[in-house]
């Protein structure tokens, strides 16, 4: 029975202000990814469109298959958009002209092994898209490092419809004129030959072009600025917090500045690290996956900072030119441990879990009087 008072005056908080359902959340993230995706398709041409469409389609199909196998309510689970997000994230990290079996197999791995083996949405310990990317990179090193130089849509070099279908489905090789190395890969190779960075970078590094994304690289990772835009949109909509992405970016900036100041011939500048590879995509769209990262802000800051250190270490001294996927997976493995030590404080209890001291009656009285 509700009294008149309860009807007219709101109850004590917290109040739900947002529908907060999974589909609306996923749709917002998909919208935030749209600029980077469209840009990727624009600069890498129709084969990139094939890759994106294949990943999205196969994500939908594999998700339906898994949901049907475990006899969940298909309509409830299938249309939450989480599978599409996984598919799109994977597509954005693939080489733009990847053959069809890379896209389909990778998405299958992400959905089946990365997600549904553990029990579906919310149960997976590792980020499915990153898991699939690492599995593909380890399994098919040749195809996963076949990069193309940007050739914007409708330009002379951009392949036509038939050529793009042949590239994706017929196993046509990338023409020599278009194949190229990524910035991170090229620098790694040249540094290995004992060349100094200052003489190297003038040849193929333009901070502005690199930031906008007119470089070779993964489908949707090249344009750091557009991804940053999407990330800021997510923060503005309240989907992600700012602490997690910022902790990653700050830790990469700090450690790369340290080494850059120490020896700029050997170690690249912070701007180079921030605008290259998957760092921006990782910061705003991979790390902020609510399932596989710590629950508390303090835990997330530790997660992001450690990820940044790992990315720098792998890029600088590791065997692979890019380390975001490896760093994220390694830290995903540590997430339960971080969550164990940084639990959210229960209401009315301190961080150790014992109840807070009750204020004595005289305290309360004196406070209300004053």
């Amino acid at each position: 029975m509700t009294s008149r008072y309860q009807q007219t005056n709101p109850q004590a908080g917290p109040h739900v202000r947002n529908p907060g359902k999974v589909p609306s959340l996923m749709t917002t993230v998909l919208i935030a990814l749209l600029p980077a995706t469209v840009f990727g398709i624009y600069i890498f041409g129709l084969p990139a469109l094939n890759t994106v469409v294949l990943c999205l389609l196969s994500a939908f199909l594999f998700e339906s298959l898994c949901v049907w196998l475990v006899k969940k309510r298909i309509r409830l689970v299938l249309f939450d958009g989480s599978a599409l997000l996984t598919g799109l994230l994977l597509a954005l990290t693939l080489p733009p002209w990847a053959p069809w079996w890379i896209s389909v197999g990778g998405t299958g791995f992400a959905i089946i092994v990365g997600k549904h083996v553990y029990g579906g949405l919310g149960q997976n310990p590792f980020n499915p898209a990153m898991l699939a990317r690492v599995a593909l990179l380890l399994s098919f090193p040749l195809q996963m490092t076949a990069w193309v130089n940007p050739a914007p849509l409708f330009s002379a070099n951009s392949p036509g419809v038939m050529d793009s279908l042949f590239t994706t489905f017929g196993g046509m090789d990338i023409p020599d004129a278009l194949s190229g190395a990524t910035l991170l890969g090229q620098v790694k190779t040249d540094l290995g030959q004992g060349l100094g960075l200052n003489s190297l970078l003038v040849n193929y590094y333009d901070p502005l072009l690199n930031g906008i994304g007119f470089t070779s690289g993964s489908l949707g990772e090249t344009s750091s600025l557009l991804i940053l835009l999407g990330g800021v949109y997510l923060i503005w909509r309240g989907i992600i917090n700012w602490q997690l992405p910022l902790s990653l970016l700050i830790s990469v900036t700090v450690i790369s500045s340290l080494f850059y100041g120490f020896n700029p011939e050997q170690y690249a500048s912070p701007l180079y690290h921030l605008s290259s590879g998957a760092l921006m995509l990782g910061a705003f769209f991979i790390l902020t996956d609510p399932v596989t990262t710590p629950a508390t802000i303090r835990g997330q800051v530790i997660f992001g900072t450690s990820c940044g250190l790992l990315v720098y270490v792998i890029r600088t001294w590791g065997g692979y030119p890019e380390g975001v996927a490896f760093a994220v997976l390694l830290m995903n493995g540590l997430t339960p441990l971080i969550d164990h030590y940084f639990k959210p404080r229960q209401y009315g209890r301190n961080r150790q879990g014992s109840p807070l001291a009750m204020p004595s009656l005289s305290d309360v009285k004196s406070r209300t009087r004053s």
Binding site: L138, S139, F140, P141, L142
Partner: protein, 253 residues
């Protein structure tokens, strides 16, 4: 979860054998399928993942382990009244280590080519917890003949699992099957060596340890599905019990 269900199976299946009448059929079914070393008990994962990059390697490891398993079960069973329960584990370990060393030296002396092929795997057998596990769970409480049978069946079950896992990983990883089998079994087995796909690039992941875990996981799922189906068959009419268990045995051979 898998571990607890595995032990519960082993407890349930060991109990009837503890009584005076020994159920040989039960021992065979347990070793080959119900309580399979790999798929039922999830034991011996370290050698399993290390050597099963090809089916041939799996076969070699499995055969060597079977020999040691039978011999250690027989020895433990023979000496079970002499060993007090307080010192049994160190004594078992000593027995097993001695046996492995003997097998190693004997193979080096009389089967030198085979030893060159398997040399890496033989010392690994000491670390195989199945052998100590069977000594403790079965041989130390049973007469010699059932113990020998248990060792043999567990060994064959282990070998089958290793060959299966190795075959799947080899086909996916390098596109061949039973590569180098002639080195292990002699030149007459060259026909076993198959190249399924020419110019196969291979899923490199399958040859790495994660691939081993992945394949193992999916094979365990397959075994569970078969078990479920058998259980459903059993629950329908009671007359089908015998036939379903026979089918189950046939599936293993």
């Amino acid at each position: 979860m898998t571990n607890s269900s595995g032990t519960s199976i082993s407890n349930a299946s060991d109990t009837p054998a503890n009584s005076s009448s020994i159920n040989y059929r039960q021992i065979i079914a347990d070793g080959l399928w119900n309580n399979n070393v790999v798929f039922g008990q999830l034991l011996a994962l370290c050698p399993l993942l290390a050597v099963t990059t090809t089916a041939t390697n799996g076969l070699g490891m499995g055969l060597a382990s079977t020999v040691v398993l039978v011999a250690s079960n027989v020895l433990v069973s023979m000496t079970r009244s002499l060993i007090s329960s307080e010192v049994r584990i160190p004594v078992f370990v000593l027995l097993i280590a001695t046996l492995v060393t003997l097998v190693d030296m004997a193979m080096n002396a009389w089967l030198h080519d085979l030893h060159k092929m398997l040399g890496l795997f033989i010392p690994l057998i000491v670390t195989n917890c199945v052998i100590l596990g069977r000594a403790e769970a079965f041989a130390s409480r049973q007469p010699v003949i059932p113990s020998a049978l248990d060792g043999l069946m567990m060994g064959i079950g282990f070998t089958l699992a290793l060959v299966l896992l190795g075959a799947v990983r080899e086909v996916l990883g390098s596109g061949t099957l039973f590569a180098n089998a002639s080195l292990l079994l002699g030149p007459s087995f060259t026909a076993l060596e198959l190249t399924l796909v020419n110019d196969y690039q291979g899923i490199v992941l399958m040859l790495l340890p994660p691939g081993g875990f992945l394949v193992l996981g999916f094979l365990i799922v397959a075994k569970r599905l078969v078990d479920q189906r058998i259980e459903r068959h059993r629950q329908k009419p009671s007359g089908l019990i015998a036939t379903s268990s026979e089918q189950q045995l046939q599936r293993n051979h």
